[in-house]
């Protein structure tokens, strides 16, 4: 059973919409622009976050990620474009209370009253929502069970960020915004936080996060958009973004002693001490190379075969003069 509303009817609706819910996508952004003085922070950004997915906005510092998130959260006014969050305009404060009851957010800076305990801080925010989650359950979920009677000022930096996450979750939101949620976490804390985020998606929460960690986007996101210089330069899934799935494989090895790249049976590019061969047919090319080496009675040292990592794609997309736009809506 699907309820469609004219404003959202032109949007793709991949997820089944529960009956009576008057919006199709959790977040719709179209032609968004924002300038600070002469600086254009966001230059015509469009994307859609479907209900129930984890969507990541990946980009370097200063690319405009936080500005976009703050516009969606209602903290900043936009200069141009259309924005819908759970079917409502976050820039319209008159409907703000109803909207804020259904979204949760975790900002970059830690901001909590220092003299309350962990439990008191969470219980206070729980009182702001019509149907909050259980305080004890949320404390367990973010891994603060042993710290609930501790004053906030005595928490470590990582524990304060967990508390922040707890405050984002306590209202039992339909949509959760996470602004660089694991910056400053140690590797174990990051794994735990990722697990929490995945479990939330499993329970039906839509999650939109920003990050500049490739592995985070890779581990969490169902879909992601790479943003650079205020514009989206690629959009897709972690496996396909930037043509990653169709990109040519790369074979690296060291040249045998006494050989030059010109001696090889295929085209190769020397780089550092290694040579790199790019190929669309890695099985065949590898056979040619190893056959050649065996016939020569030599070896290909440090031989590896890989494809561009998400990091390679990201660096290629964000380190450039003129951004190339590569929409990749294969899902």
């Amino acid at each position: 059973m699907r309820t469609q509303v004219t404003a959202a009817a032109d949007m793709t609706t991949p997820a089944a919409t529960p009956a009576g819910t008057p919006y199709a996508s959790a977040v719709v952004v179209a032609g968004l622009r924002k300038s600070y003085g002469a600086v254009q922070a966001v230059r015509g950004v469009s994307f859609t976050v479907s209900r129930g997915e984890i969507f990541a906005l990946l980009g370097p510092n200063g690319a405009g990620k936080t500005t976009i998130l703050e516009i969606l959260e209602g903290f900043r006014a936009r200069d141009a474009g259309r924005v819908e969050v759970l079917g409502a305009d976050p820039g319209d404060r008159s409907g703000g209370r109803a909207l804020r009851e259904r979204i949760g957010l975790v900002l970059q800076d830690i901001a909590v009253e220092p003299y309350l305990t962990v439990r008191e801080t969470i219980a206070r925010n729980a009182g702001y929502y019509p149907a909050p989650r259980d305080v004890g359950e949320v404390i367990d979920l973010v891994g603060l069970a042993g710290q609930q009677r501790k004053k906030v000022r005595n928490l470590s930096g990582g524990q304060k960020r967990r508390l922040d996450l707890a405050l984002g979750l306590i209202g039992n939101p339909d949509l959760l915004f996470l602004d660089e949620p694991t910056t400053g976490f140690d590797p174990n804390a990051r794994r735990d936080a990722w697990e929490v985020v995945r479990n939330l998606r499993g329970a039906g929460t839509t999650i939109m996060l920003t990050t500049h960690y490739m592995d985070e986007a890779q581990a969490l996101a169902d879909r992601l958009a790479v943003i650079s210089d205020g514009q989206i330069v690629a959009e897709g899934t972690p496996a396909t973004i930037g043509g990653r799935d169709t990109a040519r494989a790369r074979i690296h090895f060291t040249l045998p002693p006494g050989c030059t790249a010109a001696d090889l049976p295929v085209d190769a590019m020397p780089a550092g001490g290694l040579v790199t061969v790019q190929t669309a047919e890695p099985t065949q090319t590898l056979h040619q190379l190893t056959g050649w080496a065996l016939r020569q009675g030599t070896v290909l040292g440090q031989l590896t075969v890989d494809r561009p990592s998400l990091e390679d794609i990201y660096l290629r997309l964000t380190d450039h003069g003129a951004p190339e736009r590569r929409p990749d809506n294969t899902d």
């Binding site: 309350l116 219980a123 702001y128 019509p130 405050l167 209202g171």
Partner: protein
């Protein structure tokens, strides 16, 4: 926490306000600085004055009143200034700088509930402080006042007006580290020329300070406290005008975001 009332909107809002007041109180009493300087300081001051001037009769220096009859209302006024004006100006600018206000803005808590909760919290702290100061005054022989309605009105109006001025100052301060200094810089000379620490016998100075907010508040309390007169409408009107001006600035200029857009 009143989650059971969640579905019923008006009852839920009342519950929300009470919830907010409770947590403001908790934050206040847990913070040693606010609890000491805001709450204990005026109590210590009146105890010292009580010990110093114990049993003194009326004197022309205090316009015919005993020293304690003079100091109990002015120190009571001082405690309201500390609980309302100073506390709000400092706490709000710090909360804004730390991003706590931005975070509050992200919750469904309506702005009116946040500010009404703070106002009620400040009035409660003021009321306890004034009751303690009056009690200590009577221990040192000051006769208890009889004009309670006039005192109550002056206290509530004073607390509300100085809360509004506190929020106004917090709206104008950009840097929270400057907040305590700015608050004291404004308050300290004003207290002196308004007769809080000693009576002022300069007609010109009194004319000036009568148009500023502190002296009208002192006078509106001095009458019913010490002379058993009723409502001091002129001074209450000046106080209310300052409160309205403060509220106007607060509404126009208050920012939740630590950094301007």
């Amino acid at each position: 926490m009143n989650i059971t009332a969640a579905r019923h909107a008006p009852r839920r809002d009342v519950g929300l306000l009470w919830h907010q007041i409770r947590y403001e109180q908790l934050s206040f009493w847990r913070n040693p600085q606010s609890a000491f300087f805001t709450f204990v300081f005026p109590v210590v001051l009146i105890t010292i004055f009580g010990a110093l001037f114990h049993g003194g009769g009326g004197s022309s220096y205090f316009d015919g009143l005993s020293a304690l009859q003079y100091y109990v209302p002015t120190i009571a006024a001082l405690s309201v200034l500390g609980s309302c004006y100073s506390q709000l100006a400092i706490v709000l600018s710090m909360r804004r700088q730390d991003g706590i206000l931005k975070r509050v803005r992200a919750t469904p808590l309506p702005a009116w509930a946040y500010f009404l909760g703070l106002l009620a919290h400040c009035i409660m702290i003021s009321a306890i402080d004034v009751a303690l100061i009056t009690g200590i005054g009577s221990l040192f022989g000051m006769p208890l006042p009889t004009q309670w309605p006039a005192i109550a009105l002056a206290l509530v109006l004073g607390a509300a007006s100085f809360c509004a001025l506190g929020v106004a100052v917090a709206s104008l301060i950009r840097n929270s580290e400057a907040a305590p200094a700015v608050v004291q810089l404004v308050l300290f000379p004003l207290l002196f020329i308004s007769g809080t620490y000693m009576p002022i016998h300069s007609a010109m100075l009194n004319r000036i300070s009568s148009a500023l907010p502190v002296r009208p508040f002192n006078q509106a309390l001095l009458g019913p406290f010490a002379q058993h007169t009723g409502f001091d409408w002129n001074n209450l009107a000046v106080l209310a005008a300052w409160g309205a001006a403060g509220a106007l600035i607060a509404i126009r200029r208050f920012r939740w975001n630590p950094r301007p857009q």
